[in-house]
């Protein structure tokens, strides 16, 4: 009871706004509160989601989120280890890596446009190096149907986030462990894999979940860098909700609900798999 | 202030941490409760300070603590507020009492002067040494004129050579201010140096309570004796080997033993003991002596023996205690 009272400042907005919002979203996906009479039963909107275009969107969102989260976590942990190894005098300057953290997502998307379009900064560079003779020869990094533009934007925005969290964890790594490994003649990649990574593992798991789910459900970057087909689920839902006529509202909300359910399921499964893996390691 | 603790018991999370603890501290006395870490000593202090309540039992104060004569607890690690200067830390309790500005300033300056901290008034806790922090913590407690001073592990974070100095400092301060003081610690030497009375707490129970010298020389139980220092148990076989026929025969449930410093050895080629190990321990030498199947630990000032030497053994003092029932 005391716990409930103490937590109430948080529980009340959480229940009213967050859970309430969820309930309303589900209700709208089932056809309640819709501006037009819903047709075809409660789950009509969901049955629409079984059609190939949505499934492709869903798969595409998964792929973009997975690749960008994996690359960010990998790159971020390596870079964090590098920063950690810097002498104290350079540590302060190294905080420059935080720059993308304060950029909004839409600005990051814009920067990707500036650099990677066929007439962007990298294309100019390639032209001067002699790799290409005209803008058209520059490979289609953006809008080529493989989500590369969005992945680049997420990686640029999210890698510093990984560095930030991994560095905080590395502060608790005893440098003598590294020295011991060096003494026993371990190579640099070996040290990273068998000393640094295991130490970072818990924080990398958390970061991966956060980044994966963010990229999976976010709107800002795909809205600027997204591709026509398949589109990210969030954009599909937005277009259905705002750009098409009203009969599509339940379907749009159903997409969002599916997105949420997937996220919740993912957290649950991921946490369980990780804890099981750790158990096995402990047994070994 | 007099303080009588009667039959105090407390459980935390189903585990008893205090089990029927009772003792008393007379006005102006310094009492130390000693015992290994994690036996509920801190809980005892929290209850005495009124910050936690006991499950059963009572504490009688005379006079009752009040805002003018509170029971003040000096926490382990001193717990100086890191965001406040030494001056503000010391003034904290006075501000809580809403004293006039001028009076606060005078009293804080005076007490900091007494503790030789006046040049640190504007410093923050992280700029002080451990000893200085300790003094600030005690000054912060003393300035509110406590009736009862409670010290939680006052020597825990100090260097070895600072511990004894601090014990003497606490003793002197307590005498000067005449404040009843209860301290809990696991630093034995320091506790004996400064205390009027000592209580030994083992497994949530106060197994012995009495004047400092008495507690050391006449432990109430064998476990208490072992906690206070190494002991040589005098087994029947050892009695026979040493030819101690006239030695007092222990009761059926008692144990006879002796402290290492109460055993004397003397070179004797016919002696029953054989030196098996020699350890240099600074201001004394620690010998391990084998007597048939038993071994004895001996502290000696004489450093002439080597392993293999035969020695004659003389036990100067025996102690006899009940084994703890549990």
């Amino acid at each position: 009871m005391r716990t409930l009272i103490k937590l109430s400042p948080l529980l009340i907005p959480f229940c009213v706004l967050f859970l309430g919002g969820m309930v309303l979203a589900v209700a709208q996906s089932l056809g309640f509160f819709a501006p037009l009479e819903a047709e075809g039963g409660l789950f009509a909107a969901y049955s629409r989601l079984l059609e190939p275009p949505f499934l492709r969107s869903f798969g595409f969102s998964l792929y973009v989120a997975l690749v960008s989260a994996l690359v960010s976590v990998g790159l971020g942990s390596v870079l964090a280890y590098g920063v950690w190894k810097l002498p104290a005098s350079l540590q302060k300057t190294a905080t420059l890596y935080k720059v993308p953290l304060i950029l909004p997502h839409i600005a990051v998307a814009f920067m990707i446009l500036v650099f990677w379009t066929k007439s962007g900064v990298f294309a100019s560079l390639a032209f001067h190096v002699g790799l290409i003779d005209s803008a058209g020869e520059f490979p289609s990094v953006l809008y080529s149907g493989n989500g590369l533009g969005m992945i680049l934007a997420y990686v640029y925005k999210e890698t510093p986030f990984v560095i930030l969290l991994a560095l905080a964890m590395l502060k608790r790594l005893d440098p003598r462990l590294i020295q011991t490994a060096v003494m026993f003649g371990a190579s640099r990649p070996r040290i990273f894999i068998s000393v640094v990574l295991p130490h970072l593992k818990p924080v990398l798991h958390t970061t991966f979940i956060i980044l994966f789910l963010y990229s999976f459900g976010a709107f800002d970057i795909p809205f600027l860098l997204g591709e026509s087909s398949p589109a990210m689920v969030s954009i599909e839902a937005y277009n259905l909700y705002f750009q098409r006529d009203l009969s599509n509202r339940p379907a749009a909300m159903a997409m969002l609900v599916v997105m949420f359910l997937f996220a919740a399921l993912f957290i649950g499964i991921y946490a369980r798999v990780v804890s099981r893996m750790e158990m096995r390691e402990r047994k070994l | 202030m007099d303080c009588r603790v009667i039959g105090l018991s407390k459980s935390l999370g189903g585990k008893p941490v205090l089990d029927n603890v009772g003792f008393s501290a007379g006005s102006g006395e310094l009492v130390s409760i000693i015992g290994p870490s994690g036996v509920g000593k801190t809980t005892l202090l929290m209850i005495l300070a009124g910050l936690e309540s006991a499950d059963s039992g009572a504490i009688e104060y005379d006079p009752q603590p009040s805002k003018d004569q509170p029971a003040i607890l000096v926490f382990q690690d001193y717990l100086l507020f890191p965001n406040l200067t030494v001056f503000e830390n010391t003034a904290f309790g006075l501000r809580a009492r809403k004293l006039p500005r001028k009076e606060i300033k005078d009293r804080v300056s005076h007490i900091l002067g007494y503790f030789h901290l006046q040049d640190k008034m504007r410093s923050y806790p992280n700029q002080l040494s451990a000893g200085q922090k300790q003094r600030v913590a005690i000054a912060r407690a003393m300035v509110v004129n406590p009736g009862l001073l409670l010290l939680d592990e006052p020597f825990a974070n100090l260097d070895r050579n600072l511990k004894l100095e601090t014990a003497e400092f606490i003793r002197a301060t307590q005498q000067e201010f005449g404040i009843t003081t209860i301290s809990v610690t696991h630093d034995l030497t320091e506790a004996f140096v400064m205390s009027d009375k000592i209580g030994i707490m083992l497994g949530g129970k106060l197994v012995q309570f009495g004047p400092a010298g008495e507690v050391y020389s006449e432990p109430a139980t064998f476990e208490a004796a072992k906690f206070l220092g190494p002991v040589n148990v005098i087994t029947p076989s050892l009695c026979r080997a040493l030819n101690l026929a006239e030695a007092p025969i222990p009761d059926n449930c008692g144990t006879m033993y002796s402290r290492p410093e109460a055993v004397r050895i003397q070179a004797d080629p016919q002696g029953v003991g054989v030196i098996s190990q020699v350890n240099f321990a600074g201001h004394y030498i620690c010998y391990t002596v084998a007597v048939e199947q038993d071994t004895l630990l001996v502290y000696s000032l004489h450093d002439g023996y080597s392993p293999g030497d035969r020695v004659d053994i003389q036990i100067l003092k025996y102690l006899t205690s009940q084994r703890d029932q549990s």
């Binding site: 907005p13 979203a25 839409i106 956060i210 909700y241 | 904290f92 009492r97």
Partner: protein, 263 residues
């Protein structure tokens, strides 16, 4: 030497892209295949700082700052007591509850916000500042909660007890002990919350409906248009606010705490 090379790598990866924006902002005609612009122009500076849009740009910026600060304050207000409780007390179901309470930052924000939009319209909260602040608060409080729980765990319950033992009442305990101790954590959490709120586009667009001006809302169509020079310049202006704010907290608060060894 090796270290300097590494520093150079960090700069190239994370800072150089920003420099490209600076070049773009000052050279609207920079285009393929020039590696370096031929001509420089003050056009975007005039447009942003002295042009007809200047007052609009800065009023949008101000609105963004206002709702972001309100959001930061609101998250602090709702998290302070619960964080203390979560840090110091054990109760059954705590782990599940903690996980649930962090959910709004993890699961897609679109779902709950589009659901809540409907209710907000009914309640008259849509298109208002309170509505925007509420939605941003629910979206971003987990960052504050995490920071505060960690903060409370770091210094334990003893300080409060110690202050109580010395005779301090509720307000003295709160103002001279607890708040100063938790402030570094609150600043850490608050910085994240501010950044999240300040750079959010979709939630503000949805709930604010354009009636609550926001800098991201102003920026978005321009980033999407063909005027990359203006987009670059406005992005740089955007960066100024968090930078300024962080420098300010660094100078005023962090320094004070560093002196006390608390940060």
């Amino acid at each position: 030497m090796k270290h300097w090379l590494y520093m150079a790598l960090l700069v190239v990866l994370f800072v150089a892209p920003l420099l490209a924006l600076v070049v773009y902002a000052l050279a609207p005609g920079w285009r393929f295949p020039d590696l370096w612009p031929h001509a420089w122009s003050m056009r975007t500076i005039e447009q942003v700082f002295m042009g007809p849009q200047t007052s609009r740009i800065f009023s949008h910026l101000l609105w963004s700052v206002v709702y972001s600060l309100l959001t930061t304050g609101a998250t602090l207000a709702i998290c302070l007591v619960p964080a203390q409780h979560l840090a110091r007390h054990e109760f059954s179901g705590k782990r599940v509850l903690e996980a649930l309470l962090l959910a709004p930052a993890l699961v897609p924000a679109m779902t709950f916000s589009m659901g809540v939009h409907f209710a907000f319209i009914k309640l008259g909260l849509a298109d208002t500042l309170p509505g925007v602040v509420l939605v941003l608060t629910v979206f971003s409080y987990p960052y504050m909660l995490r920071a505060l729980v960690a903060g409370y765990q770091a210094f334990g319950r003893e300080y409060e007890l110690c202050a109580a033992n010395l005779g301090a009442g509720f307000f003295q305990r709160l103002l001279s002990v607890e708040l100063p101790l938790i402030l570094p954590s609150a600043i850490a959490g608050g910085s994240v919350v501010f950044l999240v709120a300040f750079s959010e586009y979709f939630l503000v667009f949805l709930i604010g409906g354009g009636a609550v001006p926001s800098y991201t809302g102003y920026l978005f169509p321009i980033l999407n248009s063909s005027d990359r020079a203006l987009g670059s310049m406005l992005t740089l202006v955007f960066l100024l606010v968090p930078l300024l704010l962080f420098v300010l907290t660094d100078v005023v608060v962090t320094r004070a705490y560093r002196k006390r060894g608390m940060y």
